[in-house]
């Protein structure tokens, strides 16, 4: 009898420990996803205009799943300590539902990250940056978002275009329709600016003299944060789910051993 008692105690202890870890991971997941949703790099308008913003949807799901994991872990601890079959059954069912949601979030983040190629951003930049006419209000909103985001990107990261300033020369664009090639081989924001927001040497910038224009492409500045977001949501969620899998199996085993 003593052995079985010890066995039960060990099982309970392990399950409580498992649930504590799940609770803490839930808090961490919520915090991480709130950070991503707050968009510290201001890249959301770019994704919104490509209609490919599902890594943000995955982060939103992550916020709610994190809260659910915290609440359910507390329920699980109470159920294990009281050895109450009803509580544990409710816990298992709700955990399975949460598991399914988190799985959706991970797979969405991983899948949609694969869509974020340089050509996606190039196409959108050429079609929307400083586009002068808009089809409807939604179009105008997206154009303004893209323009503002690219202006900020080029100023803050000292970069120009997706691959470089040659993007503006190599491809036709909405920008080229309103800005002639002789005066604007590339947008003004590709020039190195002084403190007042004016190019330090406009002719040097138009000629492409090193030091007066930004010669790097902005793709690294875009894909870096977005990749970190997608992989952060996907892999951390994956780790939580692996741990939850073990805890759930243990709980099911424990439930089937409880006698009424």
């Amino acid at each position: 009898m003593a052995k079985t008692d010890n066995g039960i105690r060990i099982c309970q202890g392990l399950l409580i420990l498992g649930n504590v870890v799940i609770g803490m991971c839930g808090i961490a997941l919520t915090a991480e996803c709130i950070f991503f949703v707050s968009d510290p790099h201001g890249l959301y308008p770019l994704l919104e205009a490509t209609e490919n913003d599902d890594i943000y949807a995955a982060a939103w799901i992550g916020i709610f799943v994190g809260f659910a994991l915290l609440a359910l872990s507390i329920l699980g601890i109470v159920g294990v300590m009281k050895s109450n079959k009803t509580l544990l059954l409710v816990y298992i069912i709700l955990m399975l539902i949460t598991y399914a949601f988190e799985m959706a979030s991970c797979i969405t983040a991983a899948t949609h990250r694969d869509f974020l190629t340089p050509n996606l951003f190039l196409k959108q930049m050429l079609e929307r940056y400083l586009k002068s006419d808009a089809d409807n209000n939604n179009d105008k909103w997206m154009t303004e978002g893209v323009t503002k985001t690219w202006n900020n990107l080029m100023l803050q990261n000292q970069c120009c275009g997706v691959h470089g300033p040659s993007d503006w020369q190599e491809y036709t664009s909405a920008f080229r329709v309103t800005h002639n090639d002789a005066d604007y081989p590339w947008p003004r924001n590709c020039c190195v600016m002084d403190n007042r927001g004016e190019p330090i040497n406009l002719d040097g910038c138009k000629l492409g003299v090193p030091g007066f224009y930004n010669s790097n492409g902005c793709y690294d500045a875009i894909s870096g944060p977005l990749n970190r977001q997608a992989w952060g949501v996907a892999w951390f969620g994956f780790a939580i789910l692996c741990w939850t899998f073990c805890v759930l199996l243990g709980t099911m085993f424990y439930w089937s051993r409880i006698a009424y």
């Binding site: 190599e170 005066d183 992989w231 996907a234």
Partner: protein, 241 residues
């Protein structure tokens, strides 16, 4: 970093006869050397040192213009004006500068350039025939420098090689490189699906191991309750009487 000097102004110089110099104009080594409607040449430094009072002009021509252009052209002539190029004339003169602007510099001084096509304001203004306007088509174009002294040409360089301007392509519509499913995404999907399947199977097994599943016949002796008449007490009432 090499800062640039971009000034070009004109003076006239005198000379006799037409000297053919061996210098060939070439494109400068900058990012914007060739765009959709402009190109950038190196300045002809040290080339015209002999012609102290000359005015140096740039001749821009199409292939036909290379043959048609005669070196007695004057800068103000309408037949060599920018506005008629290339439809009605095959060459034009522009970017006139006095010789002292192309004086020799020390060998390691900064790069000096000329941008052909930078003046957009006078492109349609017929009263400015020497406008340095943006080139209307991708070309190719050939250029050379001409030194004039009192409207008489005294020296000329060779024609440059063909300069073709950039043509813009259509916006790319395909996803390009880097698209397609990555290995990580496949691993995540596959492993999580398997784990969920195992969990659901274990959940069903857990429910079925209690009586709720309906089969419930794993313990064969639980079905019936037997009553045992252990002391053969069949008739209680006889003993009481």
């Amino acid at each position: 970093m090499r800062p640039l000097l971009l000034l070009l102004l004109l003076l006239l110089a005198t000379a006799h006869g037409l000297d053919k110099l061996s210098y060939r104009p070439r494109l400068a080594d900058l990012e914007g050397r060739v765009t959709g409607s402009t190109f950038v040449l190196e300045q002809p430094r040290c080339i015209f040192d002999k012609y102290n009072t000359a005015e140096i002009w740039l001749v821009v021509a199409t292939r036909a213009g290379m043959g048609d252009f005669n070196d007695s052209a004057q800068p103000g002539m309408p037949e060599w004006s920018f506005q008629r190029f290339p439809a009605n004339t095959s060459a034009y003169l522009t970017l006139g500068a006095m010789q002292y602007h192309y004086r020799c510099l020390e060998p390691n001084r900064e790069l000096t350039v000329l941008r052909v096509g930078s003046e957009t304001s006078c492109a349609d203004n017929a009263s400015v025939p020497n406008c340095n306007g943006p080139l209307p088509s991708p070309g190719p174009y050939w250029v050379k420098f001409l030194a004039l002294n009192d409207s008489e040409s005294i020296a000329t360089t060779q024609w440059s090689g063909p300069i073709t301007l950039r043509t813009a392509r259509a916006i790319p519509s395909s996803p390009g490189t880097g698209s397609g499913r990555s290995g990580a995404m496949i691993a995540i999907t596959a492993i999580l699906s398997v784990l969920l399947a195992i969990l659901l199977a274990a959940f069903l097994a857990m429910l079925c191991s209690s009586e709720a599943c309906g089969v419930g016949s794993f313990r064969p002796d639980s079905a019936s309750i037997h009553r045992y008449n252990t002391h053969h007490v069949y008739d209680q009432s006889a003993a009481r009487l």
